[in-house]
Amino acid sequence: MAYYEEDDLGRFAEVGKHRPDLFEKFMAWYQACQEDGALSRREKALIGLAVAHALQCPYCIDAFSQSCLEAGSNMEQMTEAIHVASALRGGASLVHGVQAHNSVNKVSM
């Protein structure tokens, strides 16, 4: 069995097979989140792309790369969004260095 087949994204609805009510609620929420609101559809697609990279979800990266293009974004904008996500991932690790300092300080003279 292969993981992450490209066609599997199109089979997402199969996840609703055993509890369609829950899946329908998820889909309604998911779709409502992408609509134009206080943030534009394009801004939301860029957030989605950034989060997809932070989660390293290949389905989401594929879907939100397309969404960004179809919302009129270009690669420069998309790359900046990916850098924001990556910087936060890096920063989230690095800031824990303070914990290491605290731990070391506690047992040091």
Partner: protein
């Protein structure tokens, strides 16, 4: 049921969709019937100074198919006789047809609104330098492709150096009064996706184009039309080469929007090819999918009253015009 003698076209020249377009229409209780003919869209030939990667016409500098003066006169006869409201001239680069200027001038004299699908760069070809003044002199509406406001995307689709020339051409059109806010000389741009994806919402990307073109290059225009890439000829070849045909066609079918059908261009337009043959649209023309057999087949026999209420000939490519906000020669046709 529409009876149509199938033209001799290789099966693999047609895109494949998971369902037929007519079945999709029927599932929504729809039928694609034309209204009154408002526009005669004339493709005066496949000769072009560019060879864009998405071109459904497969136009290029190497093409020799071009409308003769005799056929152009027949088009003008139809415009005069039936008082056709709009003559929409396309190609190729239509300006490269020797009858182009006569078509424009005579159609204007006949009282028609004339729209030219102008690729911008052709004005740098020999003998075409005065096109901005010619367009202004005949109050032509200019519709020009510019797939993005950045060089990389535009040149990727339309060829190296096209963006820079296009910006210079837009400046020249602006200089003679085209695309100025509130002005009578209309300069509209066309956005095509640079790849196998759907266009963004027209109003949103129009704002981006206006802001970026003004700030970066000092260029202004009236409206931006978003047009979906059609799975025909060169773009279909690209889809196949890149392994995107199935995914793109599925995307078009899944994005089918029944509210686009009423505003489709084929409902108010008849298309004429370089030989004078009639089609329901420029896309059907490139697929050699002629109008229904019982209708006049050439512009010599054209009568708009016979085309009103006709059943439009369809194929899998029609999903390109009904996806999302829809797509026509005038851009999106519905809310996304």
């Amino acid at each position: 049921m529409i009876q149509k003698t199938l033209p001799v076209v290789r099966e693999d020249s047609r895109a494949r969709a998971p369902v037929s377009f007519d079945e999709k229409l029927a599932a929504h209780g729809l039928r694609l019937r034309a209204g009154r003919v408002e526009t005669l869209q004339v493709n005066v030939g496949k000769l072009c100074n560019q060879a864009c990667k998405h071109c459904h016409v497969d136009a290029s500098p190497a093409r020799t198919e071009i409308m003769t003066r005799e056929t152009a006169e027949k088009v003008l006869d139809a415009v005069r006789r039936f008082r056709i409201p709009t003559l929409d001239i396309t190609g190729g680069a239509p300006e490269l047809n020797p009858s182009f200027r006569r078509l424009v001038a005579e159609a204007r004299l006949a009282g028609a609104h004339v729209l030219v699908r102008h690729n911008l760069t052709v004005m740098f070809e020999p003998g075409q330098e005065d096109l901005p003044e010619f367009f202004r002199g005949h109050s032509v509406e200019v519709v020009s492709s510019l797939p993005y406001f950045l060089e990389q995307q535009t040149d990727a689709q339309r060829g190296r150096g096209v963006f820079e020339k296009s910006i210079e051409a837009l400046r020249r059109l602006n200089a003679v009064g085209y695309g100025r806010e509130g002005g009578a000389l209309k300069l509209n741009l066309v956005y095509n996706p640079v790849g196998a994806f759907l266009p963004p919402a027209q109003a949103a990307i129009e704002q981006d184009f206006k802001r970026e073109l003004a700030a970066r290059y000092g260029v202004t225009f009236d409206s931006l039309y978003t047009i979906t890439n059609m799975p025909i000829r060169r773009f279909l070849e690209y889809l196949r080469r890149s392994g995107n045909e199935e995914r793109y066609m599925r995307k078009l079918v899944e994005a089918f929007n029944p509210s686009t059908v009423e505003g489709l261009m084929c409902r108010t337009l008849v298309s004429v090819d370089w030989t004078g043959k009639l089609f329901d649209c420029d896309f059907n023309q490139m697929l050699e999918l002629g109008v229904a057999d019982e209708l006049p087949q050439t512009v010599s026999d054209f009568d708009p009253t016979l085309f009103e209420g006709r059943d439009v000939m369809t194929g899998a490519h029609c999903f390109g015009c009904t996806a999302g906000a829809g797509s026509s020669c005038g851009g999106a046709v519905a809310e996304k």
